[in-house]
Symmetry: C2
């Protein structure tokens, strides 16, 4: 038991580093960039509140577990903004190694279980993972809209890019949310000069 | 449906402010103070990983939901460190008003459900709430130990204070975790001059 708790606390202490990984999005008030730890809390809350809008039946508790662990690999791999310029294959290699290292800190049974849950999220083929991926895309858009466009001007993001990079994923898992979001996105671009 | 999503997004955007509420504890590396949003993520992860150590049978998914929402009232009430100097009755009045305002942003059915879950956490009489409260006390201690004592010297915290303020709550919900933690606390105080 002592060894088990030691391993679990080592994992949880390592996880603390996710609070120091900065994302491409700011807080809703635009005051600073968001970190991946607080982002993970926020989207778990999003999923809990918006579960009813899932396109297909989901197990919301599995979705929340996925979202709590989905970004841990960023401790080694960093956050790679969807509007950024990066090599997906290179990132995947780093993230796979990160998953092995970080989940490997846990007792073997938990390491296997949480690694499998992360693999499921990444593969995005089950209904739970598809909804989890939708929610992961919704929150940054809402934050950007709340802070008057947030980092969109920085990345020179267009409405069409949001349709393809965000809309396709959100619509797949939660079409009603995408419907509401698209109306807000369109209103923002219509009212913003040079966007 | 549109009104429902509008209300849910208003609540979730308000919740974003929890990332700007600073706690008395630092990150595990001592680099800065922790905020209540990332703290909420971290303890939800703690609960998920350490559920097996609950003293009595719990529903871990209810515990996680509780922990995701447990600190939202701090948006209005602020964080009140357990080693700080404050009036519990005055804080309770403010937190009750905060709960009414913040959960009240949700559609009525969700407002009632999440308010009830928060009330259950606060009352700390059900097995789920008792375990959730234990976990909420464990994480700051582990962070403080990881950063070489963290804010304990600032608050002039003694081992006896940790036994009474932390130990009593952790032991009630998760005695095996308290056993492991107490050994670490005792070792820290034994090795730290003037503590
Ligand atoms: Ca994410």
């Amino acid at each position: 038991m002592a060894n088990r708790i030691d391993a679990q606390l080592a994992f949880l202490t390592e996880a603390c580093k996710l609070k120091s990984v900065l994302r491409g999005t700011t807080l809703c008030d635009g005051s600073r960039r968001e970190n991946s730890g607080e982002h993970s809390w926020h989207i778990a809350l999003y999923a809990l509140i918006m579960a009813e809008h899932a396109h297909r039946p989901i197990n919301i508790d599995r979705v929340i577990r996925m979202l709590l662990i989905h970004d841990l690999v960023e401790i080694d791999a960093g956050d790679n903004p969807i509007h950024g310029d990066h090599d997906p294959a290179a990132i995947e290699v780093i993230e796979q190694a990160a998953a092995a290292r970080i989940f490997g800190l846990l007792p073997a049974d938990q390491a296997a279980a949480f690694r499998a849950l992360w693999d499921e999220f990444e593969a995005a083929t089950t209904d739970d993972a598809i909804f989890a991926k939708s929610i992961d895309r919704v929150q940054p858009v809402v934050s950007n809209l709340a802070s008057g466009g947030g980092t969109w001007p920085v990345y020179k993001v267009t409405a069409e890019q949001l349709y393809s990079r965000v809309g396709s994923k959100v619509e797949r898992g939660a079409p009603a949310i995408w419907h509401a979001l698209k109306a807000r996105i369109d209103a923002w671009f219509a009212s913003t000069p040079n966007s």
